[in-house]
Amino acid sequence: MFNFGQLRSRNCSASSLSRRALLQAGSLGAVGLTLGDLLRLEASGAEGSPPAKSVILLWLWGGPSHLETFDLKPEAPVEYRGPYRPIPTNVPGIDICELLPRLARQADRYTILRSLHCETNDHGMAGTIGLTGSISGAISLGGQTQPGRIQPTHGSIVSRLLPTGLDLPDFMTVGGRLHQGKRGIAGEGASILGASHEPFRLDYLPGEGLRFPGLELNDGLTPSGLDARRTLLTRLDEVALQIDRSAETTQLDEYYQKAFSLLTSQSSKEVFDLDREPEQIRQRYGKFRFGQCCLLARRLIETGVRFVQVNWSSHVEPIEDTGDGGWDMHDRNFQQFQDRHSWMLDQAVSALFDDLADRGLLSETVVVAIGEFGRTPKINGKAGRDHWHHCYSGLVAGGGLRVGQVIGSSDRHAEHPILRPVTPADLFATVFRQLGIGTPELTDIDLLPAGEVIEELT
């Protein structure tokens, strides 16, 4: 299968197309290229190079309220609008919440999507959609599984198609496995792409430091505890790897090898060591988990990791509801937002934008900040907002994308998109294009695009 429309819309950036795909389709002539042209483009990597090299996905698990962040409705009745006012940003005509002042000063660095929507208001299933672009194989809170095969998550696809050859994994997740209640969700991993493209997990907890949640040891595992190789080998025997059980032994071996090399290599330890950052930088991100995890993401991207996913939390639930601080604010939505989530999001994401820009990395790194859905526009009886998948907002920046704009709009209560509805799959089709991944590359690995490129972003 070959998508000529996709090729045209990529401005013939042939370097992003696999040679195999072109040859298989016998299409070089059809697009006016010779094999020599293709090889030269591949070698030079110049004019046709994809604009983005890497991705940071900030996964705001639990579903942030769009009415308290990027799509305020101050003219709506008090039962809808919430207690915060919109403030102008540094882009005329774009307003966001008053509790996001730092992000308001950087609106020229991102695009707000105000018309995202998906098929379900179940965390697990919407999470699968957000992370894979498809509801296929998703598992609901009640345990019902959607028909079809679980698709690989975005990071696994990038890992498979854009290997860097670094010692570090190409796809790393900062945070533990995602849950709603006690049920883990589907779609965080590599699926058919195999264990070697599973995310390598690490985490940073204030007061504890670096953790490796995917490697469960009886007494924990930290880089500082792994100086003795013999000890490591003994301990790795105890490791329970939480990866696809159907993975082949060779893939498991590869994963072991990567984990081993990662945990014993001096250069890896240095990448993970946030103490090597100046105190001023650490403070700029905020000395709370999400802030420091964003800083860790920047360090990984700077080292060459292709795709870093930072999970805001592992559970959708807030701490007050036996979770670990997620965005699922069915009650006390405003209390939690103003006390913690608003400034955490504002400080960490604005610092990440600043830091990436200062280092010349923002132009080649796509940053996406989304949750699995939004919150009910009508405030419920517990000063909270419930799940709402019909319309929600997201933020996307960097990687050569067009920024300083709003795409889509919602109706007067932010209940439904009224202009340019887009899906998570559309968003990641766009991200993939920025990385040079199109239909041919996906078909090469037995996948198809789940969404359509949002042209206004490119």
Partner: protein, 298 residues
């Protein structure tokens, strides 16, 4: 030495220069904790020797008591579920606090009272038969009643009750969200935050007449009002400068002076018995408890 301060009258803002008598900034602000974990709502004992606050650490929120005579911290309870919003009674013998439940329940929070001498705890604001959160208690000056917020009537409203939870009275009934009530030292007024006039403003509720008056009117967030020990002033959090700061308002005139004005977050103001203002701030990176001399009152 002169110091620039923003003076704000109801709806009018002007920049004035106020003399500050050789104020040494390092002496006027005292940092009481150093762990950097997020904290909320410091509350002082009547003798000023102890301060309670909630500390977030990992996935826990527990109440801690700092003894300023020894510098030692200790947990207020041995609970394993989240707890917060603790306040000493006027006698210092009891503490009201908000307690959460262990199971995933999407909002079932009650208010209990703990008698500090024996640790005996009793629920005093509980809604049976439905999910409701009762929180942010504040004692009346005689210690016989307390005010709090609850969602028991399907919207967050302000209530009062006897110290044993009897004789509940609902003070507000508006589709807006009412938050963070504080009982005045003269017993006549309850201040709280509400968005009934647009964004969050401070309101004053007269307990005798039931009149409700809008006290602040700023473009943006005004919240967490707390009366000074003499009742003449209200400290509150505002973002009228674009970030969370602590302001003090004169109750009689409405005149307001900002106590902090920098890019860090200052929140959860409370008064010490001797008239200083304490709050949680991330001015040094993490979130810690600070006490601030009030250099100039409005």
């Amino acid at each position: 030495m002169n110091r620039l301060l923003w003076a704000v009258w109801m709806g009018y803002v002007s920049l004035i220069v106020l003399p500050v008598a050789d104020a040494d900034e390092s002496k006027s602000v005292q940092r009481l904790t150093h762990d950097g974990h997020f904290k909320q709502r410091p509350a002082w004992s009547p003798d000023g020797n102890r301060v309670l606050f909630a500390r977030h650490e990992g996935s826990t929120i527990f109440l801690w008591q700092l003894d300023l005579t020894t510098g030692e911290e200790s947990r207020l309870t041995e609970r394993t579920d989240p707890e917060y919003d603790a306040v000493f009674s006027p006698s210092g013998e009891d503490v009201l606090l908000a307690v959460d439940k262990a199971s995933p329940n999407q909002g079932d929070i009650d208010i209990h009272v703990i008698h500090l001498a024996d640790g005996n705890a009793q629920p005093v604001a509980v809604t049976e038969g439905k999910l409701s959160h009762e929180e942010w208690p504040s004692w009346s000056p005689d210690g016989k009643r307390f005010t709090f917020t609850s969602t028991r009537h399907d919207n967050q409203e302000v209530y009062t009750a006897d110290r044993d939870g009897q004789n509940v009275e609902r003070l507000t009934g508006d589709p807006a969200t009412d938050m963070h009530p504080d009982w005045s030292p003269n017993g006549r007024t309850i201040a709280f935050a509400t968005n009934r006039w647009g964004d969050l403003e401070i309101a004053l509720y007269d307990l005798a007449t039931h009149d409700l008056r809008q006290f602040t009117d700023s473009p943006g967030f005004d919240d967490y009002p707390t009366f000074s020990p003499d009742g003449h002033h209200i400290a509150f959090t505002t973002n009228r400068q674009g970030h969370f700061d602590i302001a003090i308002a004169n109750v009689a005139t409405g005149r307001i002076i900002l106590q902090t004005d920098d890019d860090s977050i200052e929140n959860f103001p409370s008064w010490t018995p001797d008239g200083r203002v304490s709050y949680i701030s991330n001015r040094d990176g993490g979130f810690d408890l600070y006490v601030h001399d009030v250099l100039t009152l409005p």
